[in-house]
């Protein structure tokens, strides 16, 4: 270990300025932007997060498209319309990606940060608390947008999925993304208080997300699931996000193939908004800067 030399350490401490000279405390937005930069840096340096949050949907898309795609590339049929498997899986993977980048990523990382003292250290500084959350929102936006670009790129280039060109479809994509990320973000922040320690966080959060993916029509066609499973999935946001993404990326003829016979945009807005509000209330009521056992 290197220790400072005597000359170094007996230097007078860097200059002190009396309190009266100090300008007003730093702006919440500027600090929030700095937090976002730090969050993104940290995220991409943690290999676990990059593999299980960022690359996971891309890997799954690759596996499913390759395994089920077969040689003829034909797959999903409704009436006279058939859709190649990669195209059928893409919407589910996009929805899952949004959920991983918002809910899973935040629930695990904030839980760890609460446990390892990151939050406590920040709380002891004049950082505006809102800046911490702005940083997390910046992280979610950066990772989910990059992930979506990667998914769309892989789907289009490696699996020849034809992406929609109508602006109205991208508008639908836009609001599903916005509502889905917002709900996932607040629910992730809220859920971060559930694991009892940072170490247990991945084990507590990952199964929740995995089960939702299985019952929400991400890995299997939603129509093929037992009715009771469909009913359970309808309570949670992921089913609605996946269905909404299908309305963007699948031909309109497939709308008839949905369980309800409709893309259900109205109910989707409603369910996602309710979850967004529930998440917001949970965050405000349960967020803690220190561990549960602190006085």
């Amino acid at each position: 270990m290197t220790t400072p030399t005597r000359t170094q350490s007996t230097d007078p401490a860097p200059t002190y300025r009396p309190a009266s000279d100090r300008p007003a405390t730093a702006g919440a937005l500027r600090v929030g932007a700095a937090r976002a930069g730090i969050e993104v840096k940290t995220f991409f340096r943690e290999k676990d997060a990059v593999v299980f949050v960022f690359a996971f949907p891309v890997i799954m898309l690759g596996i499913f498209a390759t395994v089920f795609g077969g040689d003829d590339g034909e797959a999903f049929r409704v009436g006279g319309v058939s859709v190649p498997f990669p195209q059928y899986f893409l919407p589910g993977m996009l929805a899952a990606g949004i959920m991983l980048s918002s809910f899973q990523s935040l629930a695990i990382s904030i839980s760890i940060e609460r446990d390892d003292g990151t939050l406590k250290r920040l709380r002891g500084t004049p950082m505006p608390p809102i800046s911490y959350f702005l940083g997390k929102i910046g992280l979610v936006l950066a990772t989910s947008l990059a992930q979506i670009a990667l998914l769309l790129g892989v789907a289009a280039l490696a699996f020849d999925v034809e992406l929609p060109s109508e602006p109205s479809r991208w508008a639908t994509f836009g609001w599903i993304f916005a509502l889905g990320t917002a709900a996932g973000t607040v629910l992730g922040i809220g859920f971060s208080s559930v694991p009892r320690s940072g170490r247990s966080a991945p084990a507590v959060v990952t199964p929740v997300v995995l089960v939702l993916q299985f019952i929400s029509g991400v890995f299997f066609a939603f129509n093929d699931l037992p009715t009771w499973m469909q009913r359970v999935a309808e309570i949670f946001p992921l089913k609605w996000m996946a269905q909404g993404m299908r309305s963007v990326f699948l031909p309109p003829e497939l709308e008839a193939g949905e369980v309800s016979g409709s893309w259900q945009h109205g109910p989707t807005v409603l369910v996602l908004t309710v979850w967004l509000l529930v998440g917001l209330v949970l965050c405000l009521r349960t967020f803690r800067w220190s561990r549960r056992d602190a006085g």
Binding site: S9, A13, S20, V31, T125, S290
Partner: protein, 297 residues
């Protein structure tokens, strides 16, 4: 909220501070003043309540009773301006493992209205060679110096250090002491907790001994437990074995022995109670039966 004039020479004023947890009283009626520019060391066994007291002063924990004023403000209602005037070094940490020294110090500087220069602070804590190293790759001592860098980056008037040198090797501890001495010379008020009596004696203007949640004594290191007035013990060894005399006038005793042995006294030692002796007798007198392995967090 208590407001005191800016020129007040008291940085921390505590009266009747009490904190209860479900099963026990962690802090019981503590009265304490810390003067501006002073280094105060809080000593006490594990579980005595040191960290609880410090964290109430830092604004992390709520008190159940008593009055607290830190830099003229109640930490329970602390605002950002107040937080920009204090610096906090918590007990050992493992956070922000993926960020480098320079990234962290610069980032934290951005939280403060009038920070110190990040590069200067990094050099000052002796981490210049580790600027680009990720936190997870730092040794324990380097990690702790980074904690101090983050604690002082905001140019605080008052710095809290909770067990800053636990786990240090002697060389690292000496280097750390020099940092604290420099901060003190710069006018920073410092409240530190420690288990090391040599550290407390070396750094602190005054010691506050806390045991079972009560403040046992506050005194200068030389005066703690009436140490300066305590009897000395004169020890020597002759054919008859080891002898010792407790006396208030050791010089006279030694002179007498010198005459008796006509010159050199065999195996002569004059012993004063060490700070450790005094401290141990202080805390055993308060019948601390704490067996916890740590302060409650």
């Amino acid at each position: 909220m208590t407001t005191t004039p800016v020129r007040d020479d008291v940085a921390v004023r505590v009266r009747g501070l009490t904190k209860r947890y479900a099963e026990k009283v962690a802090v019981d009626g503590v009265d304490l003043d810390v003067r501006r520019g002073e280094v105060l060391a809080l000593l006490g066994p594990n579980g005595a309540g040191k960290t609880t007291v410090v964290e109430m002063l830092e604004g992390y924990r709520r008190r159940d009773r008593g009055e607290v004023s830190v830099l003229g403000q109640d930490p329970g209602h602390a605002d950002r301006r107040w937080r920009s005037r204090i610096g906090i070094v918590l007990q050992s940490s493992a956070d922000n493992a993926e960020l480098t020294v320079v990234e962290l110090v610069r980032h934290f500087a951005g939280f403060y209205p009038a920070p110190r220069d990040p590069d200067q602070v990094i050099a000052w804590v002796g981490l210049e060679a580790k600027r680009g190293t990720r936190t997870r790759a730092l040794s324990g001592g380097q990690r702790r110096r980074l904690d101090v860098a983050l604690g002082v980056i905001g140019n605080p008037e008052l710095l809290f250090l909770d067990e800053p040198t636990t786990g240090f090797d002697p060389e690292a501890r000496r280097a750390f002491w020099a940092l604290i001495t420099a901060l003190r010379a710069d006018g920073t008020t410092i409240v530190l907790t420690t288990h090391y009596l040599d550290e407390a004696e070396r750094l602190a203007d005054r010691l506050a001994v806390i045991s079972s949640g009560r403040l046992v004594e506050v005194a200068r290191p030389a005066d703690l437990g009436g140490r300066h007035q305590r009897d000395a013990t004169v020890v020597w060894t002759d054919e008859g074995g080891r002898h010792e005399i407790r006396t208030a006038t050791p010089t006279g005793t030694v002179a007498g022995l010198s005459t008796k042995f006509s010159g050199e006294v065999p195996g002569l030692q004059v012993l004063r109670p060490t700070l450790e002796d005094v401290y141990l007798s202080l805390i055993s007198r308060t019948a601390s039966t704490q067996t916890d392995d740590g302060d409650p967090r």
